[in-house]
């Protein structure tokens, strides 16, 4: 098995292809994560304006998340008017999932911001927009980060499904290995997917630490 992997990777063409697919995988997983976060933040903030808005938004997002990924990938061209082999289908679909996954954590995270801090910010003359960006958002980071980590693992694993429509990053190693009846590319694809998920997760933990200096201030002094 290990010999097969070595043999596969000994060809420069294969190495180049694997690296290219890895890059594509990162792009197809991370871009939707950023788009989804950018959409979920205002949506979650809006959802807190009333009980009806809140249940409506949270429920709509959970129904959206129910739609199978392959189904969304193949229906997207019908909605967007793109061609079936356009990467936009995967990016938009995963952005929809990310948004659906993150709306609830955003609501919970904003709920977890202590009321007295918000009241202090209002008393200090913060206007709503600036209060959201400078006070509520930073304090929401710990709860929000947990949701973003779940969404990143989910995206990285779902990108491979795109291989069935020809845009799947490392997932294309699975279809290639299956068609050639050759396990080496499949094993490489699985291992790289796991490593990628782990590395992105560690990066997110690091980002959270950087964004919440108060959480570990004084520790060790």
């Amino acid at each position: 098995m290990l010999g097969g992997i070595g043999l596969y990777l000994s060809s420069p063409t294969n190495r180049e292809k694997v690296l290219g697919l890895l890059g594509e995988h990162v792009y197809l997983a991370i871009l939707p994560l950023l788009i989804g976060l950018a959409v979920a933040l205002p949506l979650g903030a809006l959802a807190r304006r009333g009980a009806l808005l809140r249940t409506g938004t949270v429920q709509a997002s959970s129904v959206l998340y129910t739609v199978p990924s392959l189904a969304l990938f193949v229906v997207m061209p019908g909605i967007l008017g793109t061609s079936i082999t356009s990467p936009a289908n995967v990016v938009v679909s995963l952005a929809v999932y990310t948004t659906a996954l993150l709306v609830r954590p955003v609501v919970d995270a904003l709920d977890a911001v202590p009321g007295h801090v918000v009241a202090a910010a209002i008393a200090m003359g913060y206007r709503p927009a600036r209060r959201f960006v400078a006070v509520e958002l930073p304090l929401a980071v710990p709860v929000l980060a947990a949701g973003v980590r779940v969404a990143s693992v989910s995206n990285i694993s779902l990108v491979s499904v795109g291989a069935l429509i020809g845009i799947g990053g490392l997932g294309e190693l699975f279809t290639e290995g299956f068609q050639l009846r050759y396990p080496a590319p499949i094993v490489i694809g699985i291992l790289l997917t796991l490593v990628l998920a782990l590395v992105v997760d560690l990066l997110l933990v690091g980002l959270r630490r950087l964004a919440t200096p108060w959480a570990h201030a004084g520790v060790g002094s």
């Binding site: 739609v67 199978p68 189904a71 694993s157 499949i186």
Partner: protein, 228 residues
């Protein structure tokens, strides 16, 4: 308009009947889902309950479950298929079980953790043994989250059986992938719609189950707390 053509494909009875009609595919799809979720539950429920009950190994369990979540099912199923090409159904089930175990494990574990510490204290005070405490206090109290985990798992399996059809085991993925291969887009969109509706239906049914399994005592306690 492509979605109209897809609906046209759906209302044609010829596409539903016959040995590879949608009805047969739907049945195969559900049968895969049921077997996978049952096997995963047999593995994950006792393990999750036990770790939650004994309080040992929780960190390891959560870590292992998260790592399993990152495993791409398409890769796992194609890999297992190459190892054992003569048993495609078995390898598909095995690959999907790996997908279904983590959410059930997390649900069972979180369920036991969610039981009010005062309840377990009272059970100990009443002289219950470890088993009695597990069966009479922790299991009933954990049911809503446990069923929530099963619901989560079933949802992912229903969605992913479609992907596993790639190795040729039937289910709704079959007509979808065939449609893609022969560029029959209305068929692809139509089958995609059916899988989406199926997923929402399965999720709705399990949501009702999740509401029904809340023990009466907890319901009373919750309504009393809400009333005061």
């Amino acid at each position: 308009m492509i979605l109209v053509e897809a609906l046209g494909w759906l209302v044609d009875p010829a596409n539903w009947q016959g040995p590879d009609g949608l009805l047969v595919r739907l049945g195969e799809h559900l049968w895969f889902t049921v077997r996978v979720v049952l096997i995963a539950a047999v593995i994950a429920v006792p393990l999750g309950l036990w770790v939650g009950h004994s309080g040992r190994g929780g960190v390891t369990l959560v870590g292992a479950a998260n790592a399993m979540r990152a495993l791409p099912t398409l890769g796992l199923v194609t890999f297992l298929f190459l190892l054992s090409p003569s048993t495609p159904v078995l390898v598909t089930i095995a690959g999907l079980v790996v997908l279904a175990v983590p959410p059930i494990l997390a649900g069972a574990y979180a369920g036991v953790q969610s039981v009010d510490g005062r309840v377990t204290d009272a059970a100990i005070g009443m002289g219950m043994t470890g088993w009695q405490r597990l069966w009479q206090a922790e299991v009933p109290g954990s049911l809503p989250l446990l069923v929530g985990g099963v619901r989560n798992a079933a949802l992912q399996v229903v969605a992913t059986v479609t992907v596993a059809a790639y190795v040729g085991v039937g289910g709704l993925g079959e007509p979808l992938l065939v449609g893609l291969a022969i560029n029959e887009y209305p068929q692809v969109a139509a089958v995609a719609l059916v899988t989406a509706v199926l997923a929402v239906a399965v999720d709705t049914v399990l949501a009702v189950v999740q509401r029904l399994v809340v023990p009466n005592g907890l319901r009373l306690a919750a309504s009393a707390a809400g009333a005061t």
